[in-house]
Amino acid sequence: MIWNSEAECMSAEDTRELQLKRLQEVVKRAYENVPYYQKRFSDVNVYPEDIETLDDIEKLPFTTKTDLRDAYPFGMFAVSQDEIVEVHTTSGTTGKPTVSGYTRKDLDIWGEVMARALTMTGVKKSDRVQNSYGYGLFTGGMGAHYGGQKIGATVIPISAGNTRRQLEIMQDFETTVLTCTPSYALYLAEVAENEGIDTEKLKLKAGCFGAEMWTEEMRKEIEKRLHIRAQNVYGLTEIMGPGVAMECEVQEGLHIFEDHFYPEVMDPDTLKPVPDGEKGELVLTTLTREGMPVIRFRTRDITALRRGKCACGRSQVKMDRITGRSDDMLKVRGVIVFPYQIEKALLKIDGLEPHYQIIVTRPEQLDELEVQVEASPALFSDEVKHIEEVKRNIENIVHSEIGLRVTVNLVEPRTLPRSEGKAVRVIDKRKF
């Protein structure tokens, strides 16, 4: 089923026409109502009337997370406070949170895109959606809530946490669809197993999971343990919240709701667009947002765009599952490497502590990649040759994962930095 076939199956030509019209409107609205944009556009000598084609978007400056932070709390709003009916913020894990303000119409659109997303997981009026995304300033809870209500499904606004109660409600209310973070879905499955609940007997059929990076392996795990189809939703507070893009039942990428959000993919170093199908940093522009238009926001998320009609019948452009962040993307000897790839390789080795650090140097002309991992009793032997064997084994596993030779060095336990939030995994000592 498709929620809005007019929008979701629109021809590429009609989409571009609609996008251009909306882009011109939003640029004008941002320029006229947000001093930040007025200044940024004037600085590069670009004005709303310079946007004559969609490609002209490249003339506009990027908006970064720092820009939004500097505008904290309400500096990016394009309407008077009277018209803002809801605000959300990011979690602020990497600094001051950024604020997102919504008008009545913005909330309608949010409900619309999330209705499309939930419809992709099969939600109908008759469904019971257990919304286990956190409610509050975090956008997840309200986003899924509005979407479920728009469809007319029964929304169970249970929020995150209180896992035993979640399982009780799931059984008693005969929940059919679960919305939460993928890691929470796995945790629910784990607790259900421990409590002796037969997940096969639950009425659950699908889940809409997002708000964090997750892998195909994790999807398979959730699908197996909860006996559901698990689909990936993408969004970010700065742009709207969940519902910027959603994976359809084909499970090969996420359709971006491009009548509301204009996607570009850039080489994060050169900031030049990359062709469809190539990986780069996703840059998003809100096309219809009133309360807080955001122009060319650098998401830092790494993905690739793929166009063409999908087997599900939709035509809206698809983006790949997010495979990393441009802030930790490395280019080593011309090869793109993400710390998660190295992590994935290290996780294949028994007895290895999941603490590691990647050090990039350029002693001569060539880049060198060193991976430091913590020694553990399982890796340690009193014989030099055994330790060297362990090192070589890890080196080979990492090599086959990333395609680059690395040097693995064992360091003493608890010597690599620990962090409560995002760990610093990469130390780049190269001088460019």
């Binding site: 032997s381 009193d382 064992l410 003493e412």
Partner: protein
């Protein structure tokens, strides 16, 4: 006659060896014999101490990676060719030596050699059959 040896992983970094020995010293554990195998990136500190379990525990509490394993202690006549004779016994029986280290004890005539063979039980058997005098843990600890 197996003897417990403790091995400690050392990063090739300033002060690490001293730190490990300082921990042992503060625990009032006397080191009977010691050797260090080193490479450019890491080292392995091997020690014979009277209280290997206690030493392991205290080092682990201080975040060192430690292993306790068995080695053989052999008394070797303190004269030319002493060690050669012992290695010949092992060599003839095709027993591979992983590593060894020696120390001379003032109180007795013999040098003491700590040997780790690939297969420790075979090593012991071969040495015994060859008439080589092995030392018990007690003998080594109380030297």
């Amino acid at each position: 006659m197996k003897l417990k040896q403790i091995s400690v992983f050392l990063e090739n970094r300033k002060g690490r060896l001293q730190k490990a020995l300082n921990i042992i010293s503060n625990a009032k554990i006397n080191i009977r014999a010691l050797s260090i195998a080193d490479t450019s990136e890491f080292g392995i500190l091997r020690m014979i101490v009277p209280e290997p379990d206690k030493a392991q525990k205290i080092l682990e509490e201080n975040d060192f990676v430690v292993k306790v394993n068995d080695v053989i202690a052999v008394g070797v006549p303190d004269k030319p060719g002493g060690l050669d004779g012992i290695l010949e016994v092992l060599n003839k029986a095709d027993v591979n030596v992983e590593y060894l280290y020696a120390f001379v004890e003032k109180k007795c005539e013999n040098a003491i050699v700590v040997i780790r063979t690939e297969d420790i039980d075979t090593g012991i058997k071969v040495l015994k059959d060859g008439g080589v005098a092995m030392l018990s843990p007690e003998e080594v600890y109380t030297l």
